[in-house]
Structure formats: C-alpha cells, structure tokens
Symmetry: C2
DNA sequence: GCGAATCTGTACTTTTCTGTCAAGATTACG
DNA sequence: CGTAATCTTGACAGAAAAGTACAGATTCGC
C-alpha cells in the first residue's frame, strides 16, 4: 500500500501555487524550481491538475497557473483521485443491497471487505481535508518524520 | 494510493490456508489452483509469508504450508507490512518532540502530516483485524463491490 | 536405496510506471 | 508584425515492479 509518485509530487505542486494566496499564480519554471523537478515533469503534473479542474492556466508571456477555486474549497480526496485513482470505488453494493447470501463465504469477499473498510477510513481523513488545511497545517496533524515516502531515485526531501 | 499485487494475492493465499482450519495445510499446487495463479507465483508469495513468520513449511512428499500461529493471532497489518511495506514509518517525531519551529512552515511538512494522518487511519483498521476476522467476515465489514483492485492483466476475480 | 512429490532460492523476461523530449499553439509586448 | 515567453500535446526511453523459469535441496514411501 503505497502512494504513487504523481500523488506525492502533484499535490506538492498544487500546494506551491496555493501558497501564493488568492489570485496568485506561478509558471511552470517557477514550480519546477520550487519543487526541484524538471520543467517537463512539472508541466505534466500541472496539466493533470488543470484537467482535473483544480487549476486554471493562462498562456502567453504573462501566463501561469492559478487555483481554479479558493484553497478552502479544494478537497484533497478529489485531488488525489485525479492524480492517482481511488483505492476502491465507492459505488459498492449498489445492487447487493439485499441479503448478501452467496458472497459472504468467498475469500474474495473477505478481502474486498477489508479493502473497503480501508477506503472508508482513508476517505474519512481525505474528504475532510482541504488545501487550506494543509497550508495552515499543524492543527490536527502531528509533527513530521524525516523518512522518505517514495522511490529512491526521486530527490531527497529536505 | 494503491495496493500492490503481492499484497492482494499474498493475503489471499494466506487466507486459503487459514480456511483449512487449525493444523490444516495446503501445497503450492493446491494454493495455486485455488487462487488461479501459476505455481511459481504462488511459491514466491508463500515463501515471503513463511519468511515473515506467518507460515510454516514442510518439505518432502507429504509437505505443504501451515499457519505458524492460530488465525486469531495473525494481525493483517503485520501481513501487509511483509507483503508490501508500510505507507509511512511510525517512528515519527522521535527527536522532534520539542517545539516544531523550523519545519512547521514548509510544504514538505504539510504533505508529511497528511500522509501520517492517513497511516494512522489505516493502521486503526489493520491493527484490529486478524485472519480470524476475515474468515468469519461480514461483521464490521460491509458488502462487497465487483470492481477490480489491481493491474488489468491479473485474473478477473469472480 | 530409489523415485516421486514437495519446498528453496536465484536469475530472467515481461509489463507497467515514471519521467523526458520535441514540436506546436497561444498570448503579450514592443 | 515579430519576437519572446508561456502553456499543450503526443510520443519516447529508462526504471521499477510483477510474474516466470529453472536448477537444487529435502522428505516420504516403496
């Protein structure tokens, strides 16, 4: 159970822009430098975030990326969904609402139920966290660790 | 945020053996067939589980794999740890116990804190779930979905 | 002892993911 | 109008993960 690299870096890039305050914007080179990744890489991540509806882009000489909505209205669960996909699709039991007879004994369902319970637990955190919360962090969140989360070839985080 | 393939299939293989009841055992071919994966693949997963201390193996003509401990003493969090590694290491803030001055403003820490909150939420579920719970499922776990969790080339789960 | 059935361990191939690249489109400014 | 700065898009290459294959070691039963 791991975070994907786009989830880690995409969310960081989005936060960089959010830190510019309402209406603030950053260009690809600026985000690239701030996060220590290549411009091409930053461009790819920002594009995904734009397609997902979290960023607006402006082309041309005075272009750049801006938050599409206020930071407090951007829910982290939605962002991670776009960057990496969900753990498990929440449209469960849409038609198994009746007596769950046939599937209660299979090994499959045992595992599925577990995955689902995890999804619920994770969503409980992510659905209640906005970009704004991350910006003014330190409230319900604890102190950090210095351990690396993702692949070894990525830059070491300060 | 995804489960790795070993996590999904390794846990299933372990459950297959657990379903044999106390003292029950299965061979590699049996597990392989029950889960619809190749014998080589099953062997690899079972070896990991044995190394992790969840299975005992017996070689020779009457060999096979048996649970190393009763199902109720095997915690799923430990199993997934061996199969796929943790989301985030829990030895956080071992030395940042004091005033967290320098790191409270960085973007890194915002993200880290979020990852950590997720780890805590996930552990809350996994540390309280044993193999026994999965065998007699349907208690705190809900009905299943029919969506696939992992890579497309894996066998479609019934 | 010999052979069959079983697990053990390492190396290899395929697939998937991740990050890179190059060419194009758009806008602002002089 | 032209130049420079910016975003856009699809294709590509390297790296990591996943699954496969093979040769070996152990045990049981005859």
């Amino acid at each position: 159970m791991k975070f994907s690299a786009p989830e880690e870096y995409g969310l960081r890039c989005l936060l960089q822009i959010a830190r510019q305050g309402p209406g603030g914007s950053l260009t690809i080179p600026q985000v690239s430098q701030a996060e220590g990744i290549s411009q091409h890489h930053a461009a790819k991540l920002l594009r995904i975030l734009r397609t997902g509806g979290f960023l607006k882009s402006a082309r041309g000489q005075a272009g750049g990326y801006t938050l599409a909505r206020p930071a407090r209205e951007i829910v982290v669960a939605d962002v991670l969904d776009v960057l990496g996909g969900r753990l498990f699709n929440p449209d469960f039991c849409a038609r198994h609402a009746g007596p769950d007879a046939a599937c209660a004994q299979t090994t499959d369902c045992s595992i599925r139920s577990l995955w689902l319970a995890l999804q619920t637990a994770v969503d409980g955190v992510l659905n209640r966290t906005t970009l704004q919360d991350l910006l003014q962090n330190g409230r319900e969140m604890q102190s950090p660790s210095q351990q690396l989360v993702q692949p070894a070839h990525l830059r070491p985080v300060s």
